[in-house]
């Protein structure tokens, strides 16, 4: 098992190198100048040149890339051109915001999605099946940025009972430890903040969770249907086991295998793909951070952050695979 993990980790290296090359080439191909971007329209050519020199932007690309790579290898994510802040520090702030939102969204998606999928499969062709699967189709067809706006329109503008943006009401005292606000509020036993954070998570969480929820529900249903046809379910029935045991133990455990993969994939996708949601709900997360960095030609930020996102993505998938192993004893990892 350990060997398997080590081997998989080694296999990540070429992928991450590929990602870094792709990022590096793309960001350098984008027209625009980080120096200008940082100094603004008022800087003189001399100042720009000096800054470019200082940032090493005039060096050959190979050299710049090599420098980036060697820094990364040494664990140095670099410094933002724009803010001069160490990227690692900034990520410690923003990553938790995105991860918290993603986890929240995924929990919503998994709980509702799996439950709906199982019930729909067990009661195939029932009204619940029809409604939930139609709902799931609606979910995957929904432009989430639009859904977000509509929710804001309804819940914030019209009804005024959910905050339209941010993670926490200004003025709400919260001592941050991990920057996962929900966790922090629990750790500091701050119930008011917990409630506030939770309320702030609701709308973006739903917006972000809609698509995975729909996908998980559909996947669970079809996987359950498939499994329910299997011989071993027939065996379980022939043994006279009770129905809930058959459904929630025998069937669901097998059916969860493909769902698990989907969950892993979606989780990874959400982490890097929350740009739109974060934009609409003014969520100070990593998606928006890179997006702004792309617009601001903040090369180091884009390079390092995308690499980190990619790393998380592949790690999440690795973890999914390992979980798979626990769920499915047939798969052997040597």
């Amino acid at each position: 098992m350990l060997k398997y993990i080590v081997r998989r980790l080694l296999m990540l290296i070429p992928v991450l190198i590929g990602v870094s090359i792709l990022t590096f080439s793309l960001i350098h191909l984008i027209p625009g100048d980080p120096a200008r971007s940082m100094l603004g329209e008022k800087a003189t050519e001399d100042q720009l040149e000096a800054l470019r020199q200082e940032l090493g932007l005039n060096d050959p690309y190979i050299l710049q890339y090599g420098r980036f790579l060697s820094d990364i290898v040494r664990g140095d994510l670099g410094e933002s051109i724009q803010s001069k802040e160490s990227i690692a520090t900034e990520l410690l702030q923003k990553l938790p915001a995105t991860v918290e939102l993603t986890i929240f969204a995924m929990i919503l998606a998994i709980v509702i999605g799996v439950l709906a999928g199982v019930i729909a499969a067990v009661k195939q062709y029932s009204w619940f099946d029809n409604i939930s699967m139609t709902g799931a189709l609606f979910g995957v067809s929904m432009p989430i940025f639009w859904l977000g706006l509509m929710m804001i329109l309804l819940f914030s503008v019209t009804l005024n009972f959910l905050p339209p943006s941010g993670r926490l009401t200004t003025g709400m005292e919260l001592h941050t430890i991990t920057n996962f606000y929900l966790l922090d509020s629990i750790l500091t036993w701050n119930w008011a903040a917990f409630k506030d954070v939770f309320i702030h998570l609701l709308m973006p969480g739903i917006a972000l969770g809609t698509i995975p929820m729909a996908i998980i529900a559909r996947m669970t249903r079809s996987s359950m249907l498939e499994v329910m046809k299997q011989d071993y379910i027939r065996t379980a029935n022939a043994k006279g086991l009770k129905k809930p045991i058959i459904i929630f133990q025998h069937a669901l455990k097998n059916a969860s295998l493909p769902v698990l993969t989907v969950i892993g994939l979606q989780f990874g996708l959400l982490l890097g793909g929350a740009v739109l949601t974060e934009t609409i709900f003014s969520w100070p997360g990593i998606g928006r951070y890179v997006y702004l960095a792309v617009l601001g030609r903040d090369y180091p930020v884009v390079q390092s952050t995308i690499l980190i996102i990619a790393l998380i993505f592949v790690l999440v998938n690795l973890i999914t695979d390992i979980l798979y192993k626990y769920a499915d004893p047939r798969i052997k990892y040597e």
Binding site: K3, V6, R7, E334
Partner: protein, 334 residues
Amino acid sequence: MSTLLELKNIKKHFPLKSEKLLSREKPVLKAVDGISLSVKSGETLGLVGESGCGKSTAGRLALRLLEPTAGQIIFKGEDITELRGEKLRKLRKDMQIIFQDPYASLNPRKTIEKTITEPMKIFGIPKEKRKKTLDRLLNVVGLSSYHKHRYPHEFSGGQRQRIGIARALALEPELVICDEPVSALDVSIQAQVINLMEDLQKEFDLTYVFIAHDLSVVHHISDRVAVMYLGSIVEVGDAHEVYQNPKHPYTQALLSAVPEANPQQEKQRIILKGDLPSPANPPEGCKFHTRCPFAEEICRVQKPALKKVSENGQIAACHFVKEVVGPEATANLS
């Protein structure tokens, strides 16, 4: 009778996924582990053995559909082991294969006509001739020519098997490898196909290598029989002789295990203990020793060679069978 096909000490080792991180020694699955066989023009050679013992692999090797790991294949006196590209394709004209699964062996997206005429098209036979041959083939395998525009899914298993046979015969091959052509069929249909194949053999002067695990079918159709166990041949000989007077303990056990549809006949059964060992990790010495009721120390350490065990050229590989020295001693081995 001249020798049409000869396999000399042929081996096929499939690589397995490496267990160790960086080990030199790649684990392999020894599907076929050094078999030698000769097939004479016009005869039917039966190849029997338990599931996974390497029958199909041997058949595919003979056709060069798989690359042998070691050994030599001689067809019509020519060494075809190293043939490649165009030459190999030319060879296909003379040797064909019929598959076990009548469902998987026909392209579901092609009409019967296309499936049967494809080989002729590949070998540049003019359209007119193709048409004529098609009609004739359909007739001999017992299908009507109005069937030709239909798709495989419109046929039953037995009919599909006939289509597969027609395709194999389209190029008028000399050798046909039949890989369990009747195993998937119901008994009543099985007889139809066996009869058809016997008729065709006469009509087209075919040589068959008939692979099956059903001993009675093999007995029925074969002139000679070869018995395989775990990638090796344990006994070869005239069909009657082998069935009447099996020399190798495995052949004996195999024959005794066949439940016969005849309540009168009380048989002395040899029940083998245990299961077929894995070809990835075959036993040392005689591969059969783990299940052999007569195994002794020598069987565990020394691999028995095939030797002539009767006057009529029956050969077997067992330490405890007496060798008969005669004029034909090496005829089947060389």
